[in-house]
Symmetry: C2
Subunit: 175 residues, 2 copies
DNA sequence: TTTACTGCAAATATTTTGCAATATC
DNA sequence: GATATTGCAAAATATTTGCAGTAAA
């Protein structure tokens, strides 16, 4: 799997060649999106990316952002992740060494974990008939905060209401 | 990471204990969903699962299926995956040895790959402060069929229309 | 000059939420 | 008896699509 094979080439050239090969057009919108994506080091969503472009003075429609990011994923400059039920998250390939994610199933929080040897191990595997481009490894479980809440819930088998009062507390008070 | 820690316990008992601990109710709907999920060996979506339940003679609302599957994920009996832009896919934990997925970024096709040593390596990693439950490793790239199409597109730099005719073909024909 | 691309708005698809009726604890 | 759960329908989100105008090749 030749991960990040393109990162030593200028992204604009990679994209340009890709567009030419696929008989697609070099529009200012596409290059504005490319440039902005390449200058974003962190994860981003379509929505946050749209906002960023607006604040940079570019008005590009959501539909165009969707379609262009699909192209950028297709030519290997951008990765696309899907964690919980929320929207997809994107990240540039260049400058983002392969990492994986701890995803809290309870609250949806995502944490990045860098692990060079694991990334290498995963990247080294070849799949006959499948041209791998990148991987997305997500470990699902409970984050620290949600574990704390979990322990609290299990501590007692007494029934508690939303205010954390036991039923007997309530009954006594009513007398 | 204690993956599949519950598979040797009867799923009904696991779920029952979980519900009791969280002060949730043992409803017939929840156990119908549990039973049906546990007897489904393959991936399923909410939609396909709903259809399956109907065909088995259970009428349970989509909202209840959503909420119950969330509980089943939470107590480790079911895993939840998110591949492309389509709906989430679920699978029972028991009887589905850890595997990963080849996902075609072009057509969305998903193929399972079994790899015991890789699964073990991933499962062996501990994360301080994070209680891991399961992992989802997705390799994105092009499947065989989409690679074929890709090669065809790149073969020539002549412009072709949707019927794969070059512009000169069309021009000649028009004369 | 052909046709792909864009923006906008409408359409889809998926998941969540509000509420009244019901069933569990 | 108190309240969590259910089904239904409506709402909220995310993404895709249709179309008319525009621009790249």
């Amino acid at each position: 799997m030749s991960y990040d094979k393109n990162i030593r080439q200028c992204p604009r050239d990679v994209f340009s060649e890709y567009l030419a090969k696929h008989h697609k057009r070099r529009t200012p919108e596409r290059f504005a999106i490319l440039d902005s994506a390449m200058s974003t080091p962190d994860h981003f969503t379509i929505e946050s990316f749209h906002d960023k472009l607006e604040s940079e003075g570019f008005h590009v429609s959501l539909a165009t952002i969707y379609s262009t990011l699909e192209l950028l994923v297709d030519c290997g400059l951008v990765r696309r992740h899907r964690f919980g039920s929320d929207s997809a998250r994107y990240e540039r390939t260049a400058g983002s060494a392969n990492h994986h994610h701890l995803v809290c199933s309870r609250c949806g929080k995502v944490k990045e974990v860098r692990d060079a040897s694991l990334s290498e191990a995963i990247s080294a595997i070849r799949y006959p008939g499948f041209a791998a481009s990148y991987f997305s490894l997500n470990i699902y479980g409970l984050c620290r905060a949600c574990q704390k809440r979990e322990r609290k819930a299990g501590q007692t088998s007494r029934k508690v209401n939303k205010n954390n009062q036991t039923l007997s507390t309530i009954r006594n008070r009513k007398k």
